[in-house]
């Protein structure tokens, strides 16, 4: 009703401000707003420069700029599409499958508009906070096909994938769609972000085929110092990613940050220890990979579990993602260049499942549900079923639709660069620049 009112008087911000706009008892809270503005900045920082550096450090010198260009382009392109139509389709209305067009071109996102999904912060802030999640999810996918994806194809992929994969899944889980209604818990994006990007990455790696020289040539990273700096920025940014998903400045946000930090630490330690034990040396790439595995895995559970459970989830994440990247990957034989599936896909799967096991009801208690949402260990086996349902739906939708999108794009522009351009490097062939 409030939205309808604002649509009828789009220019009348002053009128709206003097009218009882908070029909559902919503009130913008200064502390919540301040924290969420900060959290939005932190999450944007995860993609630029965090992910740009993390990814660029792991490719060869001739592809460093092209890899950074993908994070950069995802940032500006997704931002525009999100504001124009992505946000409204993901986060308005009560449709089981997709949102409405109420907020197309941000129509109605006025000074005092508030989303029913985040009742204490301005809707403009909720919109841009969610925008930063969409950006990083699309940017993550690109890592699986680094070193060979044509830039023009990537730009098309950004738009198609955002609207046909990210937006629906975000709506199903967070925007009032059928997965959230069914009872799936996903605090900050185990299904929406990590499993979604990981599966899409795996499919893209299959469709494009392996890098030239995979398995025979030396494809060693150009500069792992960039990857370490990128990991630091991602790690800190994750406080905004998981802590901000509480959508307010409160104890739940603080608890999510503590669990997140401990999971990252435990993941890094576990991966390092396993690598030292099985390969003889504790590599720097192993430590940063373990940290990212811990961070990705705790994402859906943060806000639902206590710190020590976060630590345990981090240990499990470090072990299972190490296994996925070193053994499973070789066994199946795909060339996911930067292990988007092995780290984010497997991590998102594991974390979403473990959220259903370890959830502590007290953390999600609210006036409407005083007992919160307990997990298996608190005697609620149904939560594990809900988690598996969410995982299965995300896996199938992301996998199938990503495949179709790539086939459609390949009819418009070749997905992969020419062989000689791949040898020369994407920096020169795609962007006409090079690192000297």
């Amino acid at each position: 009703m409030k939205q309808a009112f604002l649509r009828l008087a789009p220019a009348a911000i002053i009128i709206a401000a003097t009218t009882p706009a908070f029909a559902q008892g919503s009130k913008i809270d200064a502390a919540d707003t301040a924290w969420m503005i900060g959290a939005t900045g932190l999450v944007l920082m995860m993609t630029i420069p965090g992910l740009a550096l993390f990814y660029a450090g792991m490719v060869r010198k001739k592809n460093v700029l092209a890899t950074m260009a993908q994070s950069l382009a995802a940032t500006f392109l997704i931002s525009i599409v999100w504001a124009v139509i992505g946000y409204t389709l993901a986060f308005t209305g009560e449709g089981a499958f997709i949102g409405t067009l109420d907020r197309i071109f941000l129509n109605g996102v006025t000074l005092d508009a508030v989303s029913p999904l985040a009742k204490t912060i301005p809707e403009s802030l909720f919109m841009i906070y969610q925008m930063t999640f969409a950006i990083i999810t699309v940017a993550l996918v690109a890592g699986a096909v680094a070193d060979r994806l044509r830039f023009a194809a990537f730009l098309l992929f950004c738009v198609f994938w955002l609207l046909l994969v990210y937006v629906p899944v975000a709506h199903w889980v967070w925007g009032g769609g059928f997965l959230g209604t069914y009872g799936l818990i996903d605090f900050a994006g185990g299904t929406v972000v990590h499993l979604n990007a990981g599966v899409a990455g795996l499919v893209a790696a299959y469709v494009l085929g392996a890098r030239r020289g995979y398995g025979s040539d030396n494809l060693a990273p150009y500069d792992l110092t960039l990857a370490v700096i990128g990991t630091g920025l991602l790690w800190v940014g994750w406080f905004g990613f998981n802590g901000g998903s509480a959508l307010g400045a409160n104890s739940r946000a603080a608890m999510a940050i503590v669990s997140t930090h401990l999971a990252a630490s435990a993941g890094a330690f576990t991966w390092m220890a396993l690598e030292w034990w099985t390969r003889g040396k504790p590599s720097v790439l192993g430590m940063v990979s373990g940290a990212i595995a811990g961070l990705g895995t705790i994402t859906p559970a943060s806000g639902f579990v206590l710190p020590m459970q976060g630590l345990l989830i981090g240990i499990i994440a470090g072990a299972i993602c190490f296994w996925a990247c070193t053994w499973l990957k070789r066994k199946i034989g795909y060339d996911d260049s930067l292990d988007v599936f092995g780290v984010h896909g497997i991590g998102g799967f594991t974390g979403t499942l473990l959220a259903g096991v370890f959830a502590v009801g007290a953390l999600s208690a609210s006036p409407e549900t005083p007992g919160g949402i307990p997990g298996l260990l608190e005697g609620n086996p149904h939560q594990v079923v809900a988690q598996l349902y969410g995982i299965a739906v995300t896996l199938v939708w992301s996998g199938a639709v990503t495949f179709v999108i790539l086939k459609v794009i390949s009819a418009l522009v070749p997905l992969r660069v020419k062989q000689e351009d791949e040898v020369m490097g994407l920096d020169v062939s795609q962007h006409g620049e090079a690192i000297q």
Binding site: M58, N218, L219, A220, P221, R279, K281, S283, L285, G286, S289, C325, T326, W327, K329, R330, D339, G342
Partner: protein
């Protein structure tokens, strides 16, 4: 005149330079090179992907000397560059037909 070409471990450069300066050698050319001999290479592992690195970084020195100084240079160079571990490198000697100092036009031994 002889051209002495030595491939040595990079961290030995200063010792070699000092030793040759002491016996009156006042010039050399150094380049960073990669190669392998008996030392072979090493293995690098990135998230389980193993790459054999066959070419190791070395320094290549070129020193032009008068023929009568050759034995002394060889002796000093070998002593300074030696660690006793595999991978210390090699020294090659070839004759020089001509030498010219570009600035002055001096030739042969005077140009060294």
């Amino acid at each position: 005149m002889k051209l002495v070409i030595a491939v040595i471990k990079p961290f030995k450069l200063d010792e070699v330079r000092d030793a040759l300066t002491r016996i009156g050698i006042h010039g050399m050319t150094v380049s960073e090179v990669k190669g392998y001999g008996r030392q072979k290479g090493h293995t690098e592992i990135y998230r389980g992907a193993e790459y054999a690195v066959n070419f190791l970084p070395k320094l290549r020195l070129e020193v032009a000397v008068a023929s009568e100084q050759l034995d002394q240079v060889m002796e000093q160079l070998q002593a300074a560059a030696r660690t006793g571990q595999i991978g210390d490198g090699k020294i090659f000697v070839t004759p020089i037909e001509q030498a010219v100092r570009i600035r002055t036009g001096e030739t042969d031994v005077d140009a060294l």
